[in-house]
Symmetry: C2
Subunit: 356 residues, 2 copies
């Protein structure tokens, strides 16, 4: 137990004195570096224990490593992101590394700021979810510190990426809706982002895939894209508007689950049901499987993505220099929020309730 409290100012010097050895010796022992006799190791360990010594990360950061990995995340309120963290944390348990998270307000495009804050703190590696940060900037950054990006489709040499196959996922959704018989399918997404990485952003790919699928199916003239300034905040209002218009779609494909939940809410608010409007989301957040929600969606394995990101980062820290770009296959999960469209002019049908 610590003699001077959890953060007592016990220094390596104190330990050295107590153990009757040099500071360098202590340093070697605590990092278990090469070249220490068992006897010395024992004595030092005892002194460390007795004094409750904890190495200062700041001091470490000035010469060597900090054993800290930084992850930048926007929107912790979107349940998909905590999944990434859970995976990352799990991958790190048992390792000497500590994860610190820097939250970045996506509304203010804070990605740069948050990543810089991490780098300023001398982390040994950075994981980030910043779709809009420029590739060039990241390449520059990655010359300084190992970097793994999550959810980006661009492939640069300097940094690794872990991404889910958004095109495949979006195609699966569209195929499913077509198979149910839908033709008037609308897509709900956020504002267009005029960033350098525009085409590498998942939302943009899903949108593009939606368009392509509609074209290919011969419904090019029925393409309908609703944009919410802030997808999360404005989805409800946008969805309501969409549903009350004269050209009400029979199905809505939302760019991810959070806005999809809002569409569901809007459907209820408008006095409609899943028989009137089918809704599909994207991400596969847990609540989507709740019987009260039962949202058809595309499951991305966030935990696996987080784990993989950490693994890639540790490889980089260990010395790998060639870039790796991992693509995860997503799964379509069909639930009762998507149903065949109501036959035109026919009587209300209340059958075809998907699952439980």
């Amino acid at each position: 137990m610590a003699a001077r409290g959890p953060a007592g100012s016990v220094t390596i010097e104190d330990v050295a004195r107590a153990a009757g050895v040099s500071r360098a010796a202590v340093s070697k022992v605590i990092r278990d570096a090469y070249g220490v006799s068992p006897a010395m190791r024992e004595r030092v360990t005892a002194a460390v224990e007795q004094l409750g010594y904890r190495p200062s990360i700041s001091a470490r950061g000035m010469r060597g490593k900090t054993f800290t990995l930084g992850i930048e995340i926007p929107e912790l309120s979107n349940p998909f992101f905590p999944l990434l963290l859970a995976g990352a944390t799990a991958a790190l348990s048992g390792s000497p590394y500590q994860l610190i998270i820097a939250p970045a307000d996506p509304a203010h495009a804070e990605g740069y700021r948050a990543i810089r804050a991490l780098v300023d703190r001398q982390v040994d590696g950075v994981i980030a979810v910043s779709p809009l940060v420029e590739p060039a900037w990241l390449t520059e950054l990655s010359a300084t510190v190992p970097v793994v990006m999550l959810g980006r489709h661009d492939r640069a040499d300097g940094y690794d990426t872990v991404v889910s196959d958004d095109e495949a996922g979006a195609r699966a959704v569209m195929r499913h809706l077509f198979e149910l018989g839908h033709r008037d399918i609308a897509h709900l997404t956020g504002e267009a982002d005029h960033a350098t990485n525009g085409s590498g952003v998942p939302q943009t790919i899903r949108l593009h895939t939606y368009r392509t699928a509609m074209q290919e199916a011969g419904f090019g003239d029925r393409i309908s894209v609703a944009r919410a300034a802030d997808v999360t905040a404005d989805a409800h209002a946008t969805a309501l508007r969409m549903l009350s218009g004269s050209e009400r779609p029979t199905a809505v494909f939302a760019c991810h689950d959070e806005p999809a939940l809002e569409v569901l809410r809007a459907v209820a608010d408008a006095g409609l049901t899943a028989d009137d409007v089918s809704v599909a989301g994207y991400d596969g957040i847990e609540i989507a499987g709740h019987p009260g929600i039962s949202l058809t969606t595309v499951r991305q394995d966030g935990e696996r993505m987080g784990r993989l990101a950490v693994e890639l980062l540790l490889e980089r820290i260990a010395g790998r220099t060639e870039a790796r770009h991992e693509v995860i296959a997503p799964d379509l999960v069909v639930r009762s929020s998507t149903r065949p469209p109501r036959p035109c002019g026919a009587a209300t049908r209340l059958s075809a309730l998907g699952d439980h």
Copy 2:
């Protein structure tokens, strides 16, 4: 723009040289300390800009402050916690402080480890959500670094606390259920924790309040407490067992919203409805208000709590030494998951659908 990249190794020395001044002068300017002429400030600022200089937090940490606040959080997957973070982040925007988050796996009682990791990184202050960490340890810790604890009912001199009035909240739930006519009310909670701070844990207080309320209402003999080893993971199974027993309750009060959602799921799985079993939760997470869920709950203003915690911490950092203990009043939010119990042996009633 940075000339040497986002994390370029531009030091204060380089800036000093470029500006033709001493290192000390640069240091003063960037901290805007007292005693710099406007002319010097201008020159230094220009050099900083031009070189893309960023002070090393590690080096700072060795002498002065790091302008970093650390927050320890368990279960980011529970949507209530991100709310705390949102509040904390908001309170910090515009300030020179950066927030870093250390996730702590509650299953492994990692609170100590995570808090220590923060302190090792020389944060200027710590906010933590660790109900089970011992008060004595925290008192010791708070001698080293300012500490604000979230969701603890113990009151120590060394650290501040921000907590919601769990007794009032739980009482409100019980009163509501009694008023609806329920008598067989069960409570779903986690394993008893034999920690030093046992009586200061929100869950324990809610449980105790449940017991007391039942007693006071004269239903002491109907007290029924179901314990799940891990409330989040095992709630569903525990709830199913509870509902299939011979003594099925007419209402279930869950210790927080996440298990309450599982009870709702179990109700559906058992082929029952809100008319058979009323369900109430605690926290007021957003999804509770979704029409597909419509869960009666107690709203705790997490954002406000997070904001308040940061404010208290900044006060401490600014020099305050007397402890402050803030209690937030929670609000009961009645939704359609709680209804009058079905009159014994009477016909099914489908009215009384609360809100939308």
